[in-house]
Symmetry: C2
Subunit: 645 residues, 2 copies
């Protein structure tokens, strides 16, 4: 096979590939991550690159305008390398990995949840053992009685005995590596050591031993691995303090925007490997960046608690997700055993453990289990509703006696992905929008008050609501072409509304919302609303019987409930029922990290939730079709929504 | 550094070493194993080689006669390579790895023990769970209910549920590797699989899953890892049949004859590694040879049960044994957790498990625990005594209420090692000896009725007894130099008695016992007898209060009790008390392999045995000194022993 050299600028990275390789694959192979929401099918038009030099073969695409083609712009996924090339990657084609400051992000993800240190006000209940309120891994400093002729207990048993005296439970010492170094370690440390104890099974397990007193150095990570966004928190397990929060895109987006396209990609050659490494790389980079920023020793991180949808957990663990997509849609594992993080490729202490919050079913994952537990829905006598608005929109409804759930494929629109000017909730993202009814003048607020770069989920919801209110959109969500205003115009792909003109933005283009975007958003809101409606219908209750509606997702407190109801995303009930809970999946993962009890509760809760499979539900399609209007075909369901005022 | 090429014949193996390397090290580096009982100190004189070509530097040694030196014979451990060389290794300098046929060996090692299939006549007792009488790993064939829209339990939980229905206990599914392959495996096997279940902890654990019905293919190995000899049995865990038995030398002998010299060697650079690999290599070779001979699939071997003295277990697991030899003599681990065999380097099924019978203390190992359990001493109301005559002679005394033990460093003499013509109990080894009092004519029986090659332990005991009876030896164990007989002569190293002349042997030399050998044997018997005497003395009982005396070791049924008492090795009590139990360590390991209950009992028994440390015991030295006579200084202890008739 002929080999060609491809130089990517401005990265200045060169890669040698076989002739006929796509530019997208070439970029990935030298770790340049492009936005390719469709997984490289040429459909999303996100992976535009500028060819500077070299021959290529390229399928024509409606996503590239004539003007763009003239400038040498092509879709990387549709372009085959035919000779040595030089290729420029514009900023907007890259996966956006910029981040909010930890504090801003923490606030956004926090929602209603208390700080880690406040979670456990409750007193241990009768029958709780000492570990109920202990983190998944605890550290204990031991001053071990030295052996003598009168007491020749072996080193292993001596450590176990010292720990038993301290905690009142008989521990196991595990790990041949630990035992191999034990003799020298005990003697060189003068029998003063710190043991890390995990509460995996019935008996506590000593998973590592280190010299001296390091009991105060005990850190863990909570991770929410979303289809589009990965959020993480570094937690001091002793002080019960969240030290930092970070979020970034899931780099798997290069291989497809939603779980279905990822599952399909996993079936390609090395597909599963690539998806696995993409997420593990992001997790490791986030950990590295935390460790550096907070100046902690990686070896003092003994555990991770991870929540995510079922497919994300399969991919993280490199378990083939194929069967999730095949009838009757069964996961390989919902309740996943505890593994060593290193087995999965996650780099913390080599003996550190990875706990996954158990999933409910193939499309309702551990993220919803974590959310239910974080919101205390499993303990409430009232019926509550949890709506987690992500790429894989998951919904749970129930109380202490019963709990049902479903997953609605919303797509990544509300995470700001897959839309012309969509942006994750990060600096420069438009998060609120107000329109002047007559002039259509736009008033916005961006995250961090930066110059606008694009629009995030809450911004789109506000924008939609305003466009509807001002009559720019009809009930179908189409732009009213009769409006005479410079903001309403015909663009490359149908009509579009200009939110911010180029001169006021920090990018080189107008920030617009197109007919295609609007269609995308409409389908996303319809999917979620009809999911909610189906659960309520199946349980034969009324929306008014629901006491609280927890709205979770990356929005933070910026989401406007009125706007959400106006567009028919959320049901039209008394506004006081609504509570923003931020990232409830991350909050649940953090609770589990801090409490063995919470972790056990997650296991129980996951087992007891019933999932309704929407794709197999004849009523769902009716609900969905009826929801493909703003706010809904059945206006009686939205008595308080009136457009045009 | 200059490099030299050394060619070993007749192996025809060449190795390149640095100038100044010993020939012993050179041989080891190309996997030629020499007899070097002293660990290469130039003391045992076992590693004789013939230099054919090349320069060398060699320390003079009293172990090499002038005649030998003239023929180019040197000690490999004392010879430094100075140029390219050609070196011949005579047969007698090699570690003898020849073997008895499996059936012969089985008979010899069996002692009084029943076949595996007869052990468990006892009915399960009330409260015993289904696993009490199950092997350490059981296999179950499962026909798993296929998933449907009405039953979408995940694959993992589906397997666990099917097993739970079969065995009534909730199992765990472990191993990321198992889970990773599970989805495809279940579907390609049409949901008919065989699971291997281990009973490590409190809940049964599924350690492997394979397609189809392989429940009838469930094999395990019992190993006794002795300082000098390694014995093993292949067991069909379903049929409870011992399929085969093998024994060979522990190749660690190249690095020293007893546990102390091995511990010292372990402290050298790479010493621990080398000792570890030496034993693991032997174990793997034995397993390979079993698997080939009995035509079984290595993947159907899911567990090993290993008994050995504490140092042997440390070295097998590559745990530094240094502290066993340092005051106050503490092991790193007596109760060793279960590991994957692959972690240790032992090649069976990659998910197969290695169980070690727990040791009692630094010098009383799992071999004695196994022996106590195999002999039912822990359940007996009568006081019984177990004497395991190995290189590390271990002794246990007690009943259901109490149990004491000690270890006597007997050295490898009774295993036929470290003596001029010593041989393991293998083909051609002299096992019984009769002397004509006047003519000193010798009548012998060899194992396998082959031409004699050397003398094994039971042969030496019989020979000593006969030499004493016929007055060839005095009470000190010295050869009576006044005897005029062709068999009594002055040899290279003091006086010697010729047992078999060259012409009647299958080796190129006379088979003799020398003054040095006799001294060696005397010290060995004194060590063991005084160990027994100390336990009896400490417990303030009388030898006559002991009901049964179990004699264990590689002797099999060939050991003559009368001879043993005559030489003062065993106490002079009613002969009917004595029972040969063969290799009780191997028998105990086999019982554990076949019964989780037996395995648990071993844990309990090991905890409850008290060890007396002989080296720290002022009375021991007195006992030992008094035992350095035949049969003993205090003839009153041996009322039935009379020499000269």
């Amino acid at each position: 096979m002929d080999k060609c050299k491809v130089l990517f600028i401005p990265d200045n990275k060169t890669v040698v590939v076989e002739k006929g390789t796509t530019l997208l694959a070439s970029a990935i192979s030298c770790h340049i991550h492009l936005n390719a929401a469709c997984g490289g099918d040429g459909v999303c038009g996100k992976c535009k690159v500028i060819i500077k030099k070299g021959d290529l073969h390229c399928e024509p695409s409606g996503k590239i305008s004539l003007e763009e083609r003239r400038r040498g712009i092509h879709l990387a996924c549709q372009t085959l390398v035919e000779s040595d090339m030089e290729v420029e990657i514009p900023h907007e084609s890259r996966l956006d990995l910029s981040a909010l400051s930890s504090d801003e992000l923490k606030l956004r993800l926090r929602g209603v949840f208390a700080e880690a240190e406040d979670i456990f006000e409750a007193k241990p209940r009768l029958g709780d053992d000492i570990f109920s309120y202990a983190p998944l891994v605890s550290k204990f400093y031991l001053e071990i009685l030295k052996p003598s002729f009168d007491d020749k207990t072996s080193d292993c048993e001596r450590v176990a005995r010292a720990l038993e005296e301290k905690i009142g439970l008989v521990p196991h010492l595990t790990g041949l590596a630990n035992i191999r170094k034990l003799g020298a370690l005990l003697r060189s440390s003068d029998w003063k050591v710190t043991v890390a104890v995990a509460h995996k099974g019935i008996a506590p397990e000593i998973i590592s031993i280190e010299p001296g007193d390091r009991a105060d150095k005990n850190f863990g990570f909570a991770f929410d691995i979303g289809t589009t966004t990965i959020s993480a928190q570094l937690v001091d397990l002793n002080k019960r303090v969240t030290l930092g929060t970070k979020a970034t895109y899931n780099r798997q987006a290069t291989f497809g925007a939603d779980v279905i396209s990822r599952i399909i990609y996993a079936q390609e050659e090395d597909g599963l490997e690539k998806l696995h490494h993409a997420v593990v790389d992001v997790v490791n980079e986030m950990i590295e960046s935390f460790v550096e920023e907070y100046d902690i020793d990686l070896n003092d991180v003994m555990c991770l608690s991870v929540a995510g949808n079922t497919t994300m957990i399969h991919l993280l663990l490199r378990i083939d997700p194929t069967f999730i997509r095949q009838e009757p849609y069964v996961a390989v594992a919902n309740l996943v055993p505890v593994f060593k993080a290193s087995e999965v490729g996650v780099k913390v202490n080599p003996r550190g453990l990875l706990f996954c919050i158990p999933g409910v079913s193939s499309y309702v994952g551990g993220d919803i289990t974590a959310g239910v537990v974080a919101c205390d829905m499993h303990e409430s006598k009232d019926i509550n509703l949890l709506i987690d608005i992500g790429t894989n929109g998951e919904i749970a409804l129930g109380n202490v006696d019963w709990m049902v759930s479903c997953a609605a494929s919303a797509g990544p629109a509300f995470e700001g992905s897959g839309l012309t000017c969509g942006l994750r909730a990060t600096r420069g993202a438009i998060e609120t929008v107000k329109l002047q009814k007559n002039t259509l003048e736009v008033e916005i607020r961006t995250i961090g008050q930066d110059k606008p770069r694009g629009i995030c989920g809450s911004g789109y919801i506000a924008l939609l609501s305003e466009l509807l209110r001002c009559g720019v959109l009809d009930k179908n969500g189409k732009i009213n072409r009769t409006i005479k205003n410079k903001r309403v115009r015909s663009g490359d792909s149908g009509y579009e509304f200009v939110v911010i003109f180029k001169e006021d933005s920090s990018v080189e283009e107008d920030i617009v919302v197109t007919d295609a975007d609007l269609d995308n958003l409409k389908r996303a809101k319809a999917a979620i609303y009809s999911g909610i409606a189906i659960l309520v219908r199946h349980m034969e209750i009324d929306f008014n019987q629901i006491k609280k509606i927890f709205v979770a997702g990356g929005f933070g407190t910026s989401l406007n409930i009125d706007s959400s109801v106006q567009i028919g995303l959320l049901p039209d009930v008394v506004r006081e029922k609504y509570i923003f809970v931020g990232n409830s999946s991350l909050a649940g993962a953090r609770q589990s990290l801090l409490s063995t009890q919470a972790s056990k509760i997650c296991d129980e809760v996951a087992k007891n939730i019933t999932t309704f499979e929407l794709s197999a539900d004849p009523q769902y399609m009716d609900e969905y079709m009826a929801a493909l209007f703003f706010p809904h075909t059945d206006m009686a369901r939205f008595p308080n929504v009136k457009y045009g005022n």
